[in-house]
């Protein structure tokens, strides 16, 4: 009771209470009263500790009211305008702008080593810990997502439409290759003749990119001819096509082409 009164640093109430307790203790002869006395001591010592810590802060003169004022200033309070509203910023002494806490937050983030919250950029998954099977798929998507994290946010939208365009292109190129071979089954095409667009370096690179899908999926293959130049031909898909492809050698090759070479 009257804890606040005792905490007042100017008050001697705590001392008085202790003295009174001392006096009362002489009259104690039952266990229950002794227990009460013990309780009192605990409370008194807590209060004593609080008082001491209040004194402590006073020694270092931390003025919380001034701190609050300075914080408001930092947040951009406008002290000249008189506000005439219903609103939550009702106190006299100024108008706090709506981005006040934004400003504060901007500064605050510098003081925390907070782990950025993890979100998928491609954002289509729910983030609950899933059933085991789904997790494997999520792994792949996650690693793709991570690699693209460096990309600015706008590209997100473009990527998605690109995927379909790519597949269409790949199909188109496959058809061209197949058509050529139907007409002329024994002449493989020179790889470079096939991909290079004499008018556009960018297109050339794109063509190579699409062709690489065909190779990866086993729909076409590249060999070296007698002159050690690469040629490309579609693979014959017989009934057991898949098995055959697996038996064949699958190699990874890196082809580089720069503008000078292309010219």
């Amino acid at each position: 009771e009257n804890r606040e009164a005792m905490l007042n640093s100017k008050s001697n109430r705590l001392t008085e209470a202790l003295e009174e307790a001392n006096r009362l203790f002489d009259g104690v002869c039952r266990a229950r009263e002794a227990a009460l006395d013990a309780q009192f001591l605990v409370i008194a010592s807590n209060i004593g500790k609080e008082k001491a810590s209040e004194l402590h802060s006073e020694m270092s003169a931390f003025d919380s009211t001034a701190f609050a004022e300075d914080l408001l200033t930092f947040m951009g309070i406008n002290r000249t305008e008189v506000e005439e509203t219903d609103d939550s910023e009702d106190a006299p002494g100024g108008f706090l702008p709506s981005d006040a806490w934004q400003t504060m937050g901007e500064e605050a983030t510098k003081y925390f080593r907070r782990a950025p919250t993890f979100h998928y950029m491609m954002g289509s998954f729910k983030s609950e810990p899933p059933v085991p099977k789904q997790r494997i798929e999520r792994q792949k998507k996650a690693s793709r997502g991570k690699a693209e994290r460096a990309m600015p946010a706008q590209l997100k939208k473009m990527e998605e439409s690109h995927q379909e365009a790519t597949e269409k292109e790949v199909e188109r190129i496959l058809r061209i290759l197949q058509t050529h071979f139907e007409n002329d089954p024994n002449t493989p095409i020179s790889f470079f003749d096939f991909v290079i667009d004499p008018n556009s370096f960018a297109r050339t690179v794109e063509n190579m990119f699409h062709v690489s899908f065909l190779i990866r999926d086993g729909l076409a293959k590249i060999k070296l001819d007698e002159d050690e130049l690469p040629i490309i031909e579609p693979t014959k898909l017989s009934g057991r096509g898949d098995k055959d492809n697996r038996a064949g050698a699958r190699n990874q090759v890196v082809i580089s082409l720069d503008q000078k070479e292309w010219k």
Binding site: N2, A21, R114
Partner: protein, 226 residues
Amino acid sequence: QVSELVQFLLVKDQKKIPIKRTDMLKNVIREYRDAYAEIVDRAGRTLQQVFGLRLVEIDTKRHTYILINNLPRAEGEYLCRDKEKEKMGLLLVILSFIFMKGNSVKDSESSPKPPPMPHFSFAPPPLTPLFPGALWEFLNLLRVYPGKQHRVFGDVRKLVTDEFVRQKYLENTPIPLTDPPEFKYQWGPRAEKETSKKDVLNFVAKIQGKDPTFWASQYSEAEATP
């Protein structure tokens, strides 16, 4: 297993609620319990090397973990949503207040005047305290009121006593033998890991346009704490 755990931790960390070891065992490690320590170890290394994050155990009894940022704070853009930023602003203000006031402040809101206890008799003139030692009274000065819906923070009381406490930024513990029970606020283990007394003192100094050494005892305490 390791990459599954890494992913699990990253997702769990979104809400900033500490992750329990039992959850890790149940959802990810399962059959590989014996290799648990090794898996966690490797996951920690991956998090550090790939993401620059540190996996820290904040409760060695209950085995709960948090992720913190290992990288030095970069100047400039910090990728963070607005809502998050505003909360961090409020949090920093609260943490500063607590530290400057000696590491512990009362939750003044939860202590109505207690009924007089019969054993001790005092003659009290009831003081009406403006208690700058207490948290909510300080926040009131910033136009933040526990009972009132705040334009930015909504239910502020909930944010402070519930969210910040669950995330372990703050700790709200009862003061012994108070009746009805009164509570005090202190820094939580996440706050201790994610920031430091020194940083916070620098913040206060910046806001008030003074040198941190102006507050001698807080300064020496801050220097003494790693």
